[in-house]
């Protein structure tokens, strides 16, 4: 304990332990540290895509020709809606409402599965048209590698998020989960949505 001579106020030293840094719990602090690293992983992927695109003398494939933007808009709608259900699950968990927490978690799982189905459909359409990691019918060979690499990693994150949320929903049903861990799952899911915001703009629109 430190006592200030000027004010006589005693304050707990932050370096003696027993104090939660930034007033956050272990689960939240840890997930945020993980998400910062994961954000930089995607920053690296998008930077590699930027390098491929900027350094290419040949024009980059026209997104209007390659993608169906209404379909991508639908995928965005599904992911944003699942973010709302996830946030509602966290709010319900904090309020101690187990049945609503379960309901919102399962709705989030459903949204994630629909998104993955849409992604799989998009991939199969492009592969059917001749796109691969090494080549594609629209021009610059690296376009395929960038597309499948970036959306593949994002899809893998969505899949792991779906699994985590399903496990969380089951634990809530058995009353063995805590609001902190539901919140940590929620942060991971919102991060997935956040990454999609960047991929949607930088890959599908620009």
């Amino acid at each position: 304990m430190e006592t200030s001579q000027a004010t006589g106020v005693t304050k707990q030293s932050l370096w003696n332990g027993g104090v939660a840094p930034f007033n956050t719990g272990n689960a939240k602090l840890t997930i945020w540290i993980f998400l910062t690293g994961d954000a930089l992983l995607f920053a690296a992927f998008l930077t590699a895509y930027a390098f491929a695109r900027i350094s290419s003398p040949a024009p980059w494939p026209d997104r209007a020709v390659v993608f169906s933007l209404p379909f991508i808009a639908l995928m965005t709608f599904i992911l944003i809606t699942s973010s709302v259900t996830m946030a509602s699950a966290v709010a319900a968990s904090k309020a101690g409402d187990r049945s609503k927490t379960k309901m919102y978690l399962w709705l989030t799982v459903l949204g994630g599965l629909i998104f993955l189905g849409c992604q799989a459909f998009e991939w199969s359409t492009l592969i059917g048209e001749g796109a691969s990691m090494k080549s594609n019918p629209w021009g610059v060979p690296l376009f395929g590698a960038c597309f499948f690499g970036i959306t593949g990693f994002h899809g893998a994150h969505v899949l792991s998020g779906v699994i985590i949320n399903a496990i969380s929903a089951r634990r809530v049903a058995k009353n063995s989960d805590t609001p902190e861990t539901v919140e940590a799952s929620g942060l991971y899911w919102h991060f997935i949505d956040l990454v999609w915001v960047f991929i949607f703009t930088l890959f599908y629109l620009i």
């Binding site: 930077t47 390098f51 944003i80 709302v84 319900a92 942060l187 919102h190 703009t201």
Partner: protein
């Protein structure tokens, strides 16, 4: 119990408002992109601003960064943004160099 129930339904209501704003921004960005009525530079600028607003809404309202300690938020956001900006900035310079050599 009623207070926590009211707080919960107020939270859920605010999440749907953010949902609507995010959706409106996404649709607006797509329409702007499809009509191609703006110059390329202006279009990219507006899309990047739209992207940043959406990212801010998700991180501050859904991820509750708005309600965390300010230093915590600053450490997370600034470290990521500064590192990403450095990464992109330096790589872009290299990419333009490569383009210049390949175009000769």
């Amino acid at each position: 119990m009623e207070q926590t129930h009211n707080a919960q339904s107020n939270s859920v209501k605010s999440y749907w408002i953010i949902w609507f704003i995010l959706l409106a921004l996404s649709v607006g960005m797509i329409i702007l992109d499809q009509t191609r009525s703006l110059g390329r530079g202006m279009l990219i600028g507006i899309l990047l601003v739209g992207m940043s607003v959406k990212a801010w809404l998700i991180s501050s309202r859904f991820m509750h960064l708005k309600y965390e300690k300010r230093n915590f938020t600053l450490i997370l956001v600034l470290s990521t943004l500064i590192l990403a900006a450095f990464l992109f900035g330096l790589i872009s310079v290299d990419a333009l160099n490569v383009l210049h050599h390949l175009s000769r």
